[in-house]
Amino acid sequence: MSINLTEDQRMIANSLAGAGGDWDALTELGLLGLTVSEAAGGAGLGVADAIPALAEAARSAPMGSVIAGAVLPGLAATALDLPHAGAIAGGRLRAVVALPANCGDLHVDGTTLSGRIEVLPGADTAELLILCLSENCATIALDSPGLTRDSYALADGQPAADLVLDKVGFVPITAPKGSAGRLQDASALALCADALGAMITIREMTRDYIATRKQFGRAIGSFQALQHAMVDIYHGSEDYLSLVLRAAGGFDGLDRARLVSAAKRCCGTRMRAAAASAVQLHGGIGMTQEYALGALVRRVLVADMLNGSADDHAARLGRIIANTARREMQEETA
């Protein structure tokens, strides 16, 4: 099985993959405005449509591309009703979105903000920071006095940065109710889609490798231990695909938090294990920097680490399940 895409989704996926991390290409193809409303000059795509396209694009995306992050600023600008949406969609303004997972000890002092924002993909070159905490949101110009950045690359090659804020001015924004949570979930799910695309390529490469690599005079894929490990990779990623598609499809419903957390949890548990197993099945070649597998594995790992770890999502799921149980109990006694 594979990701079933509509015509439009496939076109978007191909463009995204082709553009990779290149800003001008992303702009030219209109991908930065994918989720920006049509009124503001975007394509007006919902999360449900964007996610499968992101996953498909990630299957062949080069090292260091910014697929997961590409749609987030547009989504944030639209959700928070920012005047910047049009500029973001048109590629005239580079924005990044910081979520609670990025923000350690931020504190407000009257009209300024101080503290650190960490591991923010795209923050190395961005011009606008959209800060989206649970209740309070703000925009901050990244060339503001008192703001310094420390840039680096992530394990999968994406550029990112830490921001250090020392009494930096900000523009407060009243976020529509629920929009911050929605953005966090959109970000987590976009990361899941990135890992999904990488995982599907990993499983295809691994299957082909063990079908052709010979030892002891036969294809190593004829050994049962490897066949069973390969089935686990395949079945696990197929289930993960189900979770990501389901979370995308249910994104606008009441069940969003549960569906997204399940997908993100699975990304960090089953998919991390599947990636490890894929390296094992390749033997020594799987350990080399030059071989394409490593870059894909690193995409899965980075997706797992950002915006809520597998354990964060297990904890959230646990709370949701407990609430469900209490509701069910009430319904029964009512």
């Binding site: 099985m1 449900a48 299957r207 063990i210 079908a211 294809a219 894929g221 004829s222 049962q224 066949q227 069973h228 390969m230 089935v231 686990d232 395949y234 079945h235 197929e238 289930d239 993960y240 189900s242 979770l243 598609l245 389901r246 995308a248 499809g249 249910g250 569906l259 957390s261 399940a262 949890r265 699975c266 548990t269 354990d311 297990a314 904890a315 799921l317 646990g318 709370r319 399940i321 407990a322 469900t324 149980a325 209490r326 069910e328 109990m329």
Partner: protein, 390 residues
């Protein structure tokens, strides 16, 4: 992928729910929600209630008295029934031999047997496995010899589930010992269990219960009209039957109902001074289980949505069987953990607290799920070969 019923499916669900609401006897519900297992009699009672309504053979075509429901409707019905606390109907007649007879049986066999499966006048069991033929079923040794127009069957079957309740057994036997391949010399027979030479002996399983049996066939004589399809083509029929069996083991509806019961249990038990469901260690395990269930349910639905009514599910079945059995085992694991030390009590709480031993018997019983109907290892062999081409 959106899991929202279409308008027709939503109307169907409402109709099904309303019927189950008024038709499912209270004592049967209470058994499930009271953490007890349904008895044989309760299962048969529910079977007859459904038969009266015409809802017992959900996948059969109308001409044979079935509902001809789409795979999605069958799924909805199963989910609603399980969530209401209904017993699961046994598959041997409805899902195994019934469909085989419809596809490969003679007109006389269809006319004689299908209505009696619907009404539960006949109850079937599955005579495939033998002491020396389990995963390698094609190596079976039970012999069938044609003498005039009488087949004489000689051999031993084992692990035969509910043979103690059944009056008919379908039997795979070797009819052409000289065939080039073992699969080519096998035939499928319908055997009346009251015939001379049929003997059933109980096997008690590790959960202390009597589910399975040995069935001895000592020169049992059946007419040529009890051969299904052609002689020596039995393997084809058996493969069709096993594909249907494995899809059934996905058991999504049942797992959903049991997870709901488990949540309720974890809400009412304590760890320290908080509800068990709020304990972070337990909650994390439950979160992983629910995540895997959600994935399994969705994979199942994705596969169902590609299936036409009566379509062949054999390529998908191994995936569903693998994960479905594993999930049900893990439910029993968390259930015994939720009960705590009293789960260690061996005596079943028929009279006293039904939670005594809840989980543990289930845990032991559930070990079988990854063994029967094709073990997990065999499922992986099949997927490696057919889906992955290894």
């Amino acid at each position: 992928m959106q899991i929202i019923d279409s308008d027709e499916d939503a109307a169907f669900r409402a109709e099904v729910r309303a019927f189950i609401q008024q038709a499912l006897p209270q004592d049967i519900r209470d058994t499930f929600f009271g953490f007890r297992r349904h008895s044989w009699q309760q299962m048969i009672r529910w079977h007859r209630i459904l038969a009266d309504k015409g809802w017992v053979a959900v996948s059969w075509p109308r001409e044979y008295g079935g509902c001809a429901w789409t795979p999605m409707q069958q799924y909805i019905f199963d989910e609603e029934a399980m969530l209401a606390g209904a017993p699961r109907l046994r598959p041997f007649g409805l899902k195994m031999i019934g469909p085989v007879l419809m596809r490969y049986g003679s007109d006389a066999q269809k006319a004689r047997f299908l209505p009696r499966i619907l009404s539960a006048e006949d109850y079937w069991c599955q005579g495939f496995s033998e002491p020396d033929a389990g995963s390698d079923l094609a190596s079976l040794k039970t012999k069938a010899t044609l003498d005039g127009d009488i087949w004489r069957i000689e051999g031993q079957k084992t692990w035969t589930t509910t043979a103690q309740h059944a009056n008919w057994i379908f039997v795979l036997a070797r009819s052409a010992p000289q065939a080039a391949k073992p699969q080519e010399g096998i035939s499928l027979f319908l055997v009346d269990m009251s015939l001379p030479g049929v003997e059933v002996r109980p096997i008690i399983t590790i959960d202390g219960d009597h589910h399975v049996n040995e069935v001895f066939l000592d020169g049992v004589e059946v007419g040529a009209d009890m051969l299904v399809g052609e002689a020596n083509k039995g393997w084809t029929y058996a493969k069709y039957l096993l594909g249907n069996e494995r899809v059934g083991v996905a058991n999504v509806g049942q797992a959903k109902a049991e997870l709901k019961l488990l949540r309720r249990l974890a809400l009412t038990r304590k760890r320290g001074n908080q509800a068990l469901i709020d304990d972070p260690v337990f909650a994390a395990k439950l979160a992983d289980l629910e995540t895997d269930f959600l994935a399994h349910e969705t994979t199942n639905l994705r596969m169902l949505s590609t299936l036409k009514p009566g379509g062949d599910a054999s390529a998908l079945a191994p995936f569903l069987k693998l994960r479905g059995s594993e999930i049900q085992q893990r439910i029993t694991e968390l259930a015994s953990e939720a009960v705590g030390p009293r789960a260690a009590i061996w005596q079943r709480g028929e009279e006293g607290d039904p939670l005594d031993s809840y989980g543990l018997h289930g845990w032991l019983n559930a070990r079988a799920f990854t063994i029967f109907g094709g073990s997990s290892e065999v499922m992986k062999n099949i997927i490696a070969k057919t889906t992955l081409g290894l």
